[in-house]
Symmetry: C2
Subunit: 254 residues, 2 copies
């Protein structure tokens, strides 16, 4: 349909720096010894920048690499066999994109740039080989994968039993924490995705997202100007995100 989402994956392998890229890429939750990181240098060339709406990879393409986000952001969209488009994740600088492809041999969703975005490619074959020689790397991959499993599990449940207010509060706080971990301000950040993307991700209609955000502003919890987010009252947001508005959760299940 729209050719603006064509795949642009032209590799420009002339980049030497990338040391920082590796560090950030592979040290998201926890670091890898520096001497091991050095070994990775050869294998992660940054790709040509993606423009907004460009796909890093498309659902169904054979899995070859993980990608570490250097700058910008992406969303992952999975199209189900019933032809629904589900936003299954957002990726910020430092995130590894493609982890959920390892099992499939193919990417189970498309990664689409939300803005101008640059990534490093980490060919999985090479990672695999390296992981034999570098125990810490193997451990790291295990950890990241397992971490994902756990995060998804918990996030899912947390969202399911919650009101729009709580979901959105949690979303904002999660984003805030991401930025904090990366050394950016947790109080003020830009989110390139649309209200529709957020709603899709959280299981809410875009109208509900808009309304809820408006209500937050009226209560002076946040100030939002387009894609510019300003968290003013983290405490209140935290309280909201924890309020278990619906049952099914707090009870003793047996």
């Amino acid at each position: 349909m729209t050719n603006s989402t064509r795949v642009s994956r032209i590799v420009s392998r002339e980049v030497a720096d990338c040391q920082t890229c590796h560090l950030r890429a592979l040290c998201v939750p926890q670091g890898l010894p520096l001497k091991d990181i050095a070994e990775l240098n050869g294998i992660a060339p940054p790709l040509a920048p993606l423009k907004k709406h460009d796909a890093l990879f498309r659902q169904g393409m054979p899995f070859t690499s993980l990608f570490a986000v250097r700058s910008g952001s992406l969303k992952q969209v999975t199209t189900t066999y019933t032809n629904e488009h589900l936003v299954t994740g957002f990726f910020l600088p430092g995130d590894l994109v493609g982890l959920d492809a390892i099992a499939e041999e193919c990417y189970p969703g498309s990664a689409v740039a939300l803005e101008t975005t640059t990534v490093c490619e980490l060919p999985f074959e090479r990672l695999n080989e390296l992981s034999l020689r570098i125990p810490a790397l193997r451990q790291r991959i295990y950890r990241d994968l397992s971490q994902e499993v756990h995060n998804e599990r918990l996030m899912q449940r947390l969202l399911l039993n919650r009101t729009a207010e709580a979901r959105l509060a949690r979303f904002l706080l999660t984003m805030s924490a991401s930025f904090r971990r990366r050394g950016y301000s947790p109080y003020r950040f830009q989110l390139a995705m649309t209200r529709g993307d957020i709603g899709n991700y959280l299981g809410l209609s875009l109208e509900t997202v808009s309304r809820t955000l408006t209500r937050y502003q009226q209560h002076e919890l946040v100030v939002i100007r387009g894609h510019d987010f300003h968290l003013c009252d983290m405490k209140a947001l935290t309280r909201l995100s924890e309020a278990c508005g619906r049952q099914g959760a707090a009870q003793q299940p047996s």
Copy 2:
């Protein structure tokens, strides 16, 4: 409180080497054929049977092993820091319990038997050692973990945008598929968990679960007697589970 949920985990560590068994043991999504469960006996000795409400492990205990379910069933319950109890998964014979603990060093939830249940213990250290020598095994672990990530991601989104009717239909079909994979009838099976457990898992109140199930019966899609489930009209259930009752999904997110 109730001492019936005491931890029973007696390890017997005499391990004979059997690569195939380990490999098969790791075939989580597919489940483990019944005849192979016997084979596991040598390497991964079954623990003393758990009685209903017994915990296989408790949230926070140091992670040491994965467990393969031999018979019976369990639920995993995670208690959040806000003291909510979330049912994060159900495990049937052939399932691997504990995958999401690898990242944490500790089990991120408690595994509680829903009925009399037997499991085999798979010490993770051994798996880890073996994975060094057996590339296929390492691949298998990667794959299973990644599969989980993907499944969780998709399941989450699918549930989030759906009505109670669709969620429950999907739940039943998922269970049905599990039983089919294990060689049991996909049309008739027993689920030991309570309506409350199901509701908690799906993000619905137990009343809604009950009502929806009743409605299914009125339309003759199923026959349910307590924990005895009878799926009569799989097609209709499938149709229901696919109906995207709410927006946020079907739209082109950009």
